[in-house]
């Protein structure tokens, strides 16, 4: 019995086709993975199902009946619930308030908070989703916030739960807990659609899997009848070489040295503790860790975006701890920021102006504070050509470029400055496979040219194939470091979860 059936769904944004005649059938009581790369159209498809987008063509059947879903309200009435990648929670409201909003228990004209609290407690008990119903959402952990999201859907009597990349923000341990909850939900008869791009998770949790690529459906198969290699091939469309060929490192002098960096963040108390490491010329140092364990703070400290730390940073032997961002850039630190659109580009500026961002006071683009547009235009032509940026020209607005090309604009700009150290944070996030390979090649080329690279990434494959050495961050501390070849993927996973190298057991549950 198909509880959800999507037939021939298409949806385009502007000129790009996000969903191209996609069919999807989900059986009652199964965990169904929707697998695909970034930009394959998974989220778009589910947003259509949940009434956040409207499809250009195609039909939706719930429990066999054709329905038109124009708003989340209708989707909720049909028994759907969606847990978004970016949580839809209000920080300053309590857990209970977040859960009951829109469907509040009442006493007269007022909200019956006691009743709401009781219902939330009942739900947490039934599904073993422990969370304090009276706590403010901004005060609880990410894992707990995700449970609140699930509770929100359950409170609305959702029978079909859609989870969009739910493990991206979780530690491996929290992921384990989530999977246990999902299995419990499945036992109680709920249907689960699980969006992911991770093969291992797909293999671990799903009954069946549907693969999307470039907005098209590739296949639906039973998980027990497939393998990670086959899934990878279906997802990417060709054989995937997980390891990039690279020459042996030609290590030179120390470029960067971090000496007992300690950092307290006012807002969420996330901190770095006593971080010490070096990066030498001609090597890539990878930083592994589950997101939110100090990577962003490290990125900001090295580039100067935040400065109030204890400990010291040396660049080519000079103490740069108190240097401004501009001083560090001028000295030769390049930066590919983790949040591309927020930090790395000015979407409203055209290409040529974006390509001098950070160099606008420097020769030859400017002389004594006056810009020379002839040189600026020439510069953009060179970068567009050298980095194969697909665009209508140097006057095009950067917001009109694709994600991969935007990333190339940033990388082109940063490499053009010929830095001696490049801080590359999530350099391939959200870009297509072709661009990923190209970016990897560029990073390796920098290494061959004798530059230092600090590579911060959430993708284990990327770290393992590019880095010469690795450090692993957990709760702001370096829990392991060493040559990349000495780490196995399994080991890294454990380390990232805060469990000691090799020795420690897997914990009581498994």
């Amino acid at each position: 019995m198909n509880v959800v059936e999507l037939k021939n769904i298409s949806k385009s944004f502007g000129n790009s086709l996000a969903n191209d005649s996609i069919d999807l059938a989900v059986k009652r009581g199964e965990i169904h993975c929707l697998l695909g790369e970034n930009g394959a159209g998974k989220t778009t498809l589910m947003k259509i199902l949940f009434g956040l987008y409207s499809q250009d063509q195609g039909s939706i059947l719930i429990n066999g009946a054709e329905v038109e879903i124009k708003s989340p309200r209708q989707a909720i009435e049909l028994g759907l619930g969606m847990i978004h990648q970016h949580f839809m929670l209000v920080g300053r409201l309590t857990v209970t308030e977040n859960i009951i909003a829109g469907r509040e228990p009442r006493r007269g004209i007022l909200i019956d908070y006691a009743e709401g609290m009781r219902q939330v407690k009942e739900l947490t008990a039934t599904y073993q989703l422990s969370v304090n119903p009276g706590a403010r959402v901004e005060d609880i952990s990410i894992g707990e916030q995700q449970r609140v999201e699930i509770l929100k859907a359950l409170y609305r009597q959702a029978e079909i739960l859609i989870l969009d990349e739910p493990t991206a923000v979780l530690t491996p341990q929290e992921t384990g807990e989530l999977f246990a909850v999902l299995k419990k939900l499945k036992e109680s008869g709920k249907t689960i659609i699980f969006i992911t791009h991770k093969l291992k998770e797909t293999m671990a949790i799903s009954d069946r899997v549907t693969i999307l690529r470039d907005g098209k459906k590739v296949a639906t198969i039973a998980t027990s009848a497939t393998s990670p290699t086959e899934l990878a091939r279906l997802m990417v469309g060709r054989e995937v070489i997980l390891r990039v060929k690279k020459a042996a490192a030609m290590v030179g002098k120390t470029v960067l040295q971090a000496d007992h960096l300690t950092y307290y963040h006012k807002k969420n108390n996330r901190q770095l503790e006593q971080l010490s490491f070096v990066i030498k010329a001609g090597e890539i140092l990878g930083v592994a860790g589950v997101e939110g364990n100090g990577q962003q703070e490290l990125e900001e400290l090295i580039t100067g975006l935040s400065r109030n730390s204890q400990g010291k940073i040396f660049f080519k032997g000079k103490d740069i701890s108190s240097w401004s961002i501009r001083e560090r850039r001028y000295a030769g630190i390049g930066h590919i920021p983790s949040d591309r659109l927020k930090r790395g580009l000015i979407p409203d500026f055209n290409l040529e102006k974006n390509l001098i961002l950070g160099s606008e006071w420097q020769q030859p683009y400017a002389r004594k504070g006056f810009l020379d547009y002839k040189v600026i235009r020439e510069n953009s032509k060179v970068i567009i050509e050298r980095f194969r940026i697909k665009t209508s020209g140097s006057q095009a607005l950067v917001q009109d470029l694709s994600g991969g090309n935007q990333q190339k604009v940033i990388i082109g700009r940063e490499l053009r400055r010929e830095p001696e150290l490049i801080v590359a944070a999530q350099p391939t996030r959200g870009v297509d496979v072709g661009a990923i390979e190209y970016i990897h090649k560029l990073l390796l080329k920098m290494r061959e040219e004798g530059k230092g690279v600090l590579l911060i990434s959430a993708e284990l494959d990327e770290l393992l194939s590019l880095s010469d050495r690795l450090i692993v961050l957990y709760e702001g501390r370096i829990v392991a470091s060493g040559n990349t070849v000495d780490f196995t993927e399994a080991e890294l996973g454990l380390l990232m979860a805060g469990q000691g190298r090799g020795g420690v057991k897997n914990g009581p549950t498994e």
Binding site: L52, Y53, V90, G102, R156
Partner: protein, 313 residues
């Protein structure tokens, strides 16, 4: 010196402050609702002015001041509906649209006054609201001064403020409003009609500001004059921030602002050589100090002033 202080700081000054706080507190509550739903309403100034004018207009033609009050609320709400249409439906910049609304209201009221009554200074006198005395409260010691020969709108304001607080913090609608202003997408995904909430809040803010305007022209005085609001809309906005987007807080801030005003007027009456202008500056300075976070940590609704993009278009 002590005598002087006693002359200034007494219950009569406080009673005067309460009266002057009435339009401020009402408009500040309007600001609280509008901003809690995510819409900056800089147009409060124009909405108060519109209310003041419509109040006199209603009383002039019907001789019934209460009909004037009703018309003031309708006019305020109607003008706010126009503002809501532009900012919500057509996604106009909220601050710019607010400035435009204020200009429009100033121009329209001044122009209409000349067309209708042939004067650019003030309107003819109309029937204002009669003052009332509350039977029981008017006999209590000390606080009776607030309830004897008081404008009914002052008392209505007190009731409205308390009701507004309940509405915002204790009812389903209030929870939905607060969610809309902090995270409209979240509200959308739990099936809350974000647009409807925003329209309601902006129009409601207009009704409140209109009522505040009616107090100026029918409660405090009984005529309309050019630019009668005299910046009270902006002060109300400041009071709202001062009061942490809470009707009770806004009321307290309004009371504080108007208290300095009342003190200043009393000093003027005493003909002392204390610089008036410096005392008048106090509310404005206070607001800046508060905004700079020196006294309270102010925390506006997270999505305030941002265009929400609910769904695709």
């Amino acid at each position: 010196m002590n005598e002087l202080l006693a002359l200034i700081f007494n219950l009569n000054t406080l009673a005067a402050a309460l009266r002057m706080a009435t339009p401020l507190a009402l408009a500040a509550m309007g600001g609280a609702f509008s901003e809690r739903a995510g819409i900056i309403n800089l147009g409060l100034e124009g909405l108060i002015l519109t209310g003041a004018f419509a109040g006199v207009l209603g009383s002039y033609y019907s001789s019934l001041p209460w009909l004037g009050v009703l018309l003031a609320m309708i006019a305020g709400g109607g003008f706010a509906a126009l503002f809501a249409l532009f900012t919500i439906r057509f996604k106009a910049d909220q601050v710019v649209a607010g400035v435009g609304l204020n200009m429009l209201a100033l121009g329209l009221t001044t122009w209409l006054m000349q067309v209708l009554w042939g004067s650019r200074g003030s309107s003819p006198n109309v029937n204002g609201l009669p003052e009332i005395t509350i039977p029981l409260l008017g006999r209590l010691p000390f606080v009776k001064v607030f309830f004897i020969e008081q404008s009914p709108l002052v008392l209505i304001m007190l009731v409205v403020i308390i009701a507004g607080w309940y509405l915002l913090f204790k009812t389903p609608l209030g929870l939905r409003i607060r969610m809309t202003g902090d995270h409209p997408t979240a509200a959308d995904t739990v099936g809350i009609n974000v647009r409807a909430i925003q329209y309601f809040c902006v129009i409601f803010s207009g009704v409140l500001a209109g009522l505040g305007g009616a107090y100026l022209s029918l409660g405090h005085l009984n005529w309309f004059s050019v630019n009668m609001s005299a910046g009270r809309g902006y002060m109300a906005l400041a009071a709202n921030i001062f009061g942490q987007w809470n009707p009770l807080g806004g009321f307290a801030a309004s009371l504080l602002f108007s208290f300095t005003d009342a003190v200043q007027m009393r000093l003027q009456g005493l003909n002392l050589s204390i610089a008036n202008e410096l005392i008048q500056m106090l509310p404005y300075l206070l607001t800046i100090v508060v905004l700079a976070g020196a006294v309270l940590r102010s925390r506006p609704p997270e999505a305030l002033g941002k265009q929400n993009q609910g769904g695709d278009e």
